[in-house]
Symmetry: C2
Subunit: 372 residues, 2 copies
């Protein structure tokens, strides 16, 4: 696996029962996954020779993130190393312009959008629809709210163009909530769909995920699952695909973003599903039959643990474990910095209010925003 973040850490954890050998390419020996994996190569994934040396002796390569240059992936494939997901699929998670063009071509509903050339072009884009505000995104390099701007005028639209990367303009969707449809697809074309979840963001960062999405009409849930399975098939995805969705006020579902790796909106599955997203990603990448994605509990809630003002979470950790012996804490081994994702908690049960309260309390207590 290329990339030493928490997704690689949790993929290694999920891979241990399969009896496989897991090899990691990590930026530093201190990265989240590098702390727990046996076979670690420290190096820069942007350097082709480093990647090539790492890949030698691997049966298959997969990724913790989408930043490996497409041409490097093609070079690995030319060397005879299977890359899953492959470059032709992964480019749709790397480049929002390519993603939108493909989704348009296969008839998947998206927010109104087009590539814009300059701030005047943004004004023209706004005028073609309901006017400002308009959402601007650099087509490459954004994540967790970075590389995304909501602008109210041509004057405000100058900054996104400064990076020299193509800029995508999108209508600001009038959504009631965000959903995510997570699916996993194997090289055989076998695919499984996790229940559609509700994803709540705070400051552009995923905060809470509820599985399944409360009150979601069955036909809309089915439509979202089918849409995600169809995208996985049409784009040739192998492994995990997260489709982030807007549920609009007028009852439509529009695709916001794609991620081709285990995803924050699927972390609930570690304790809430028969087979976790990480285990199914491993199974897909290795072309093993996929596991059952169905939930084990009526409700599962995930809340991210962000760093607070105190670097030492130990006493909060004790408190949370003692307060709730059913709480599932997943820490990433990262230094605590304010606002940094350092872990997540999962809770599950029959009563959604109770499950939500337990997860929020634990995450808030660990961050230091709840003190009783």
């Amino acid at each position: 696996m290329v990339g030493g973040g928490q997704l690689a850490r949790m993929t290694h954890e999920a891979g241990i029962p399969f009896g496989i050998r897991f090899k990691l390419l990590s930026d530093t020996p201190q990265d989240s996954a590098a702390q727990v994996v046996g076979d670690v190569v420290v190096g820069d994934y942007r350097d082709l020779e480093t990647l090539r040396a790492f890949a030698r002796g691997c049966d298959v390569i997969t990724f913790d993130h989408e930043h490996v240059p497409t041409e490097h992936l093609r070079a690995l494939e030319a060397d005879g190393i299977p890359v899953r997901p492959g470059p032709d699929a992964l480019v749709h998670a790397q480049d929002k312009g390519v993603m939108r063009a493909k989704l348009d071509a296969i008839g998947v509903p998206c927010p109104r959008h087009r590539i814009v050339a300059d701030p005047e072009d943004v004004t023209a884009f706004a005028a073609e629809g309901d006017g400002f505000p308009v959402v601007l995104k650099t087509v490459r390099g954004g994540y967790d709210g970075k590389g995304v701007w909501v602008v109210d005028s041509a004057e405000e639209a100058a900054e996104p163009f400064r990076a020299g990367v193509a800029v995508l303009a999108e209508e600001k969707v009038d959504f009631v909530r965000e959903l995510a449809a997570n699916v996993v697809r194997s090289p055989h074309g076998q695919a499984v769909a996790y229940p559609v979840v509700e994803s709540r963001q705070v400051n552009g960062v995923c905060d809470t995920v509820i599985a399944p999405a409360p009150g979601l009409a069955e036909d809309l849930a089915l439509k979202a699952e089918e849409m995600a399975l169809n995208i996985a098939k049409e784009l040739g995805v192998v492994g995990h695909l997260a489709v982030e969705l807007f549920q609009t006020r007028d009852g439509r579902i529009l695709v916001n973003e794609l991620a081709m790796r285990p995803h924050n909106s699927g972390h609930w599955s570690m304790d809430g599903a028969i087979t976790s997203q990480f285990a199914n990603h491993v199974r897909a990448v290795l072309d093993l039959p996929l596991g059952d994605p169905r939930p084990r509990a009526k409700w599962t809630v995930m809340v991210n643990v962000l760093g607070g003002d105190y670097p030492d979470m130990y006493s909060a950790y004790l408190h949370c474990m003692a307060r709730d012996p059913q709480l599932k804490i997943h820490m990433y081994g990262k230094d605590v910095k304010p606002g940094r994702k350092v872990g997540h908690v999962n809770t599950y049960g029959d009563d959604l209010d109770d499950v939500l309260e337990r997860a929020r309390h634990a995450a808030g207590y660990l961050r230091g925003t709840i003190t009783e």
Copy 2:
């Protein structure tokens, strides 16, 4: 953790979410746990200086097996390294003579037993009770049926005395089945009890575990749990304690063996309990509040996967995963040898017959004893 077997492998897996650093002392770099742990020291646990060097910088030491010499553990403690379980507790899992004497002293029912000096003394022991057969055990060094003999006469009783280790004679208990009571205790004295399970042995090796034990009367289950909690307390156990039990034809429960580490009879908890035995062992050893030990499913069944005649299980692996997408396979990364424990499978659900059939089929298919 000292010892690189599958128990250490699964303890590492369970420890990853706690954000801890896990360090392993392994006999070889190929050992089951050494394949998946980042920080591995290869060395011999029987050598005190190796142990001391390994322990330097560890916050606490625990074990994958009970073979570390008691005097080495005392030396580590003298160096200021917490050892959990400590030598005074662990000796009861290392020496069956010490264990029986202690259980007698605290009033825990055991099979009739005493240390015997020679074959003639075995005849005397038999005559004190119902005669032959008599069970003979070397007080140290036995596991999985090794170091245990069932003899029908003084002539047959010669072999156990050849090792030069003290020999314990025990009545051959007329049991209807074997049970196991698994408990975990922290340095604080907090303790949790898993539901009592039924354990079925084949040729002295654990084959199948059913959680909870089917048809076990509630008062007997409670008695077994209390007995195990009491033993943990009286012996000062920190970490996981497995109490192997005989359920006799006349409705009594007698202690067969003790193990002070995660145990084969607790592997079901990885997929069947809210908190697995491995996670609770980590929590206890680190003096963290313990997790909820209750089952998540009505029935969970574990069956060990033993090696068969074919060293390559890959195609059987594919078949089992495809046949049962809910099957949980746990492989240990070991080379397949006939009769060797190389993994286990867990299944769970509401219908015991179905859950048993699925686990047995998968384990049998992987071994090669079932081919359809």
